[in-house]
Amino acid sequence: MSVIEVRDVWKKYRRPHVKTTSIKEAALALLRGQHGYDEFWALQDVSFEVQQGEAIGLIGPNGSGKSTMLGMLARVLKPTRGTMSVEGRVCPLLELGTGFHPDLSGRENVFLNASLLGLSRRETEKRYDAIVDFAEIGDFMGSPVKTYSTGMVTRLGFSVAVHMDPDVLLIDEVLGVGDEHFQHKSFGRLLEFKEEGRTIFVVSHNLESVGILCERAIWLDRGRIVKDEDSPEVITKYKAAVEAWERSLAEAKARDAPAS
């Protein structure tokens, strides 16, 4: 059964020539004839399906459309063209720790965050101890979040998200949250999720983790799917492509150097 279905998806962003944030600027830009936009396609004609229980890694260089893809799966962004559907409870681990209000206590923030991710108050109460335990915050839960360290905030954000009992887990570059110990622990938690037959969709630059966690990988470049195969092959080819690109850069530099 396919849990995620993405069909012919395109996503267009409009980038104003001059960023207009005020009516005056907009009026001036209009007078100068700068009202045009640069349109660019963050994703072009992307299609894939994900079966239940699959773990998929989305890799590719910066600006290739990975986060846009994840944002659309989380329903935060809308595709310009094409259709997509995600079944079951989706838990996005995007922008971890953001959305915490600095003046509220850790406890209050946990309940706010959990409700955003679709958990009821009662469900959150049941999991509250486990969430605090996992985040290793303990005594600080009653204090305002502004007194937390950055690591504590992201740990708490991660902990709330992984206690959601999700069918589909969407992860954006959070494999490196917290210190060494917490990284091991959170990675272990993701492996547990996988064993429980949940679907995992990861965006990461950490190819090693993608290789361990995911059996399948999708390589995106400038908004298009380059490869969608078993992860070892995709990762090997991606690495080779990056190396080839770096070599050509170095060669070009070497060629230009004597001339200048």
Partner: protein
């Protein structure tokens, strides 16, 4: 309609945001929620000093006039001001997860409605101390508040959406509210405007006002805020008498007109908000 059912489904988010707004507004203050009434009372104290003592205005019951006019006005203006940041401030939440975005202007409205409720609790306590007799007509406050709420929601929704794309909205709104305040009978009784004339106009603004005076008076009365303020006064001060005594302005006609305006504004605001909402996450 589907939006409404989604909001109901996600009502815990709404409730959590409202609770957060309430907690954060008076953080680090000793008196806490008492400020919901203390704030307007202090403002009213300032006006009392200016108008009654400095300008020697001889309005009877001036203090009561101010309290009853200012409470619905404050609810309205505070909701509108909060709405201009209702979406922009929540960008982290918007980029984090999907939830019906309508919750954001709605939380601005509900937070301020609860502040109004606190103010009323304190006010009723004061009435108890002053031995003012309560009567059934106080309940007229409820439909009057509802009228303001529906109207405010419509404006809040459109302003919340526009503010995401234009930072200017906030500043324009602040100043327009300042004008609107004086066009609402808060500092003066309604009759002052209804009986008012412009005696010898000597500039184009006054000429313009004078030439269309009956129309402007009608617009003044049909403003949902005027109707609500007069509703409050009728309920709290005049024992439920028809809010506008002037036979040239039959109250119920204008009340129905104001209701139509409020509902139309709410629908329009919701349509504008919905059309913009999909692009929120793409902005800054």
């Amino acid at each position: 309609m589907s939006e409404l059912s989604e909001v109901l489904r996600c009502r815990e988010i709404l409730w959590n945001l409202v609770r957060r707004n309430l907690k954060v507004r008076y953080k680090n203050s000793i008196l806490g929620f008492a400020w919901s009434l203390l704030n307007p009372l202090m403002q009213i104290g300032v006006w009392y000093f200016v108008f009654k003592i400095l300008f020697q205005r001889d309005e009877p019951n001036f203090m009561a006039l101010l309290v009853t006019g200012f409470l619905p006005w404050l609810f309205f203006s505070q909701t509108i001001m909060d709405s201009t940041v209702a979406v922009t401030q929540e960008m982290p939440l918007i980029k984090k997860a999907y939830f019906p975005r309508t919750i954001l202007p709605l939380s601005a409205l509900l937070s301020n409605l609860i502040h109004l409720g606190f103010a009323f609790i304190v006010l009723l306590a004061l009435f108890g101390i002053w031995r003012v007799d309560l009567n059934i007509y106080y309940l007229w406050v409820i439909p009057s508040t509802l009228l303001v709420a529906v109207f405010a929601y419509g404006l809040a929704a459109m302003l919340a959406a526009w503010s995401v794309f234009y930072a200017d909205v906030k500043f324009i709104v602040g100043n327009l509210l300042g004008l609107w305040f004086f066009l609402t009978p808060v500092l003066y009784p309604l009759e002052l405007v209804l009986n008012g004339t412009i005696k010898s106009p000597d500039n184009w603004v006054e000429f313009f006002l004078q030439s269309h005076l009956p129309l402007f008076k009608k617009l003044f009365v049909i403003d949902p805020l005027t109707i609500a303020v007069e509703g409050y006064r009728s309920a709290l001060l005049r024992g439920g008498d028809v809010p506008i005594a002037n036979p040239n302005y039959p109250f119920w006609d204008y009340a129905i007109g104001a209701t139509v305006i409020a509902v139309a504004t709410a629908i329009l605001g919701q349509i504008i908000f919905r059309r913009k909402a999909d692009a929120f996450a793409e902005q800054g």
